[in-house]
């Protein structure tokens, strides 16, 4: 039976959700106009006033915010309330230098943790569960967010944070952890280590995992599920919007439900910024309608994905987002072709390689080169050079058909690619343009 943390809101009728959004949006735009001079100026430049925003149908009239605005307004320019009302900051590294610093009032923390509680409950979590949180704690939102959610659900929470793999395993086994929260690459690594130690999926007490903060593929999900003997759930979020829990997966594992009572999602064309009809692929844009301290309006996530309002078998009515194809921050343009690391990962896993890889992009004689470094595994290795070359060729062909681009595949020594205990470094771009 599907469990909900807040059934009334998670399964509300579309009409109810729309009414909530209308009411909160109108209020939020007024709040921002009154409290965030930076955004008010943007609205004035576009000739929009709070009076023009009567419902979510007017959302398109509002100006966008982007990472660039966060940089310009750093650190207090987008603050929506007095600092004395704020109780926390969280921070994430920006792609180009300046860190993103997000502020929270107690209200903001509560709604964030509530979102995480919904995610944990959607995996079947209750106060009888033992939830191990192996996301980093500190400025990174992963640990604090899920920690708060786990408390709200009433799970026994083990705040291991990231790193020290053998200690993580000791807690999982000794305290019989049933839910694991971490990045997917760390889950894969933990699984690998547990296998090495002789634990099979039936020996491991875990039954569910909530994995996010990184791109991962369906193949990687199947891999992790098999090694740890769990059901692996995706979770989505951005520090700019709160952190993990903006959207989460339910038992159907068919996209992530966006917490629409707190966030309005739009899909826009990243070039023209035009709002695209439901089902189209484009850039995900969020409006945080419930946040006080850091009220992002039409924030461009850079994530490329699509939305669906089709009925979900879990009973939730909130819109679902597909797993982002890639963050346009992660997106590499190689010889004019858009390449996402997650696509490369899919090809590797399809061909029986471990998900541990590194992409090296360089420019030689004015031509971009793509070198995919893959660690040799016992499964892939034979005494026969020809057979190994054949397998390499299959990989090159697979990459060609996935990316539309010829890549070089280099086999490297096992464990030579830096292992991630937090976020993985997958791309090294040596091009100096």
């Amino acid at each position: 039976m599907e469990r909900y943390y807040q059934e009334e809101i998670e399964c509300a009728s579309r009409e109810t959700i729309r009414n909530i959004q209308n009411e909160k949006l109108v209020k939020q735009v007024r709040h921002v106009w009154d409290n965030v001079p930076y955004y008010r100026k943007k609205m004035e430049e576009k000739g929009v006033t709070p009076d023009d925003i009567q419902s979510i149908d007017d959302l398109y009239k509002l100006p966008f915010l982007s990472k660039n605005d966060l940089r310009t307004a750093y650190p207090y320019g987008l603050l929506g309330t007095d600092l004395k009302n704020c109780v926390r900051i969280q921070s994430t590294s920006g792609t180009t230098g300046k860190r993103v610093v997000a502020f929270y009032t107690q209200h903001d923390i509560d709604l964030w943790e509530e979102c995480c509680a919904r995610a944990i409950t959607a995996t079947g979590g209750t106060n009888e569960d033992v939830c191990q949180i192996s996301y980093g704690y500190g400025l990174f939102t992963g640990g604090p967010g899920l920690n708060g959610g786990s408390h709200k659900v009433g799970c026994l929470t083990i705040p291991t944070s990231s790193g020290n793999t053998d200690r993580q395993i000791m807690f999982i086994m000794d305290l019989q952890a049933t839910i694991l929260c971490c990045t997917p690459s760390y889950a894969a690594y933990l699984g690998e280590r547990m296998k090495e130690l002789g634990y099979g999926p039936d020996d491991i007490p875990l039954k569910a995992g909530i994995f996010g903060a990184e791109a991962w593929s369906e193949e990687m999900r199947r891999d992790i599920e098999a090694t740890l003997g769990i059901k692996a759930y995706d979770i989505y979020g951005l520090t700019e919007l709160s952190g993990p829990g903006v959207a989460f997966e339910c038992s159907a594992q068919q996209g992530m439900h966006i917490n629409e009572d707190h966030f309005i999602a739009e899909i826009v064309d990243p070039d023209t910024l035009e709002v695209l009809p439901e089902g189209s692929e484009g850039e995900l844009v969020f409006t945080a309608i419930d946040k006080e301290a850091f009220p992002m309006i039409r924030y461009r996530t850079r994530d490329i994905c699509r939305l669906t309002r089709e009925k979900c078998s879990c009973g939730r009515t909130h819109v679902r987002m597909a797993k982002p194809k890639g963050r346009s921050d992660d997106m590499l343009i190689i010889r004019g072709v858009n390449v996402f690391p997650s696509q490369i990962e899919t090809v590797l896993l399809n061909n029986g390689y471990a998900a541990n890889y590194q992409i090296i992009v360089d420019r030689v004689n004015n031509t971009d080169t793509l070198d995919v470094q893959v660690e040799m595994t016992p499964e892939m290795f034979t005494d026969n050079v020809g057979e190994i070359a054949d397998r390499q060729r299959v990989l090159v062909d697979g990459l060609k058909s996935m990316l539309g681009l010829k890549a070089k595949v280099t086999l490297v020594a096992p464990k030579s690619i830096t292992r991630s205990e937090g976020k993985a470094v997958r791309v090294i771009d040596k091009r100096k343009i």
Binding site: M376, T377, P378, F381, T382, D383, N384, V385, A389, T410, L411, V412, A413, P414, K415, S416
Partner: protein, 144 residues
């Protein structure tokens, strides 16, 4: 009575082969034979040792990727054209050789032996022994 050969994946970096021999030496693993196959990017060391299982464990522990397969170790007749005679028998029996390398049998006798990687070791072996060739077993090797 085929032999087990260990193949080891070696990246093309100075000192990789030495790291492998160092690991084996530190654990007193006696190598009976070794050959190296290389491509531009990586190499494969193929080695014959007395105790295959413990050697594989030792290499794995040192983060080497290995693969174990059967090979035939055959004594080369001690006469001019010995290898040629041997290969004639292989050809006559249609035993396809993927690769081969030589080694010295024993410290006293100093006879020559060849390691053969063939398509189908188990069916090739009786054909060769029926022709009077001496195919060495893992036990033979240990007694040398």
């Amino acid at each position: 009575m085929s032999l087990k050969q260990i193949s080891v994946f070696l990246v093309n970096k100075p000192g990789t082969l030495r790291t492998m021999t160092g690991v084996l030496a530190a654990n007193n693993v006696d190598m009976r034979a070794i050959s190296l196959a290389e491509t531009r990017e990586y190499g494969i060391a193929r080695i014959i040792v007395d105790d295959v299982i413990s050697a594989v464990d030792i290499l794995k522990e040192a983060d080497f990727v290995t693969s174990v397969n059967s090979v035939l170790a055959v004594e080369v007749p001690d006469q001019p054209g010995g290898l040629n005679t041997l290969l004639e028998i292989f050809a006559a029996e249609e035993v396809n050789i993927e690769y081969m390398y030589s080694f010295i049998i024993g410290t006293e006798s100093r006879k020559a032996g060849m390691i053969f990687r063939v398509g189908d070791t188990s069916s090739a072996e009786p054909k060769l022994t029926a022709r009077g060739l001496k195919v060495l077993s893992q036990e033979d090797l240990q007694q040398l």
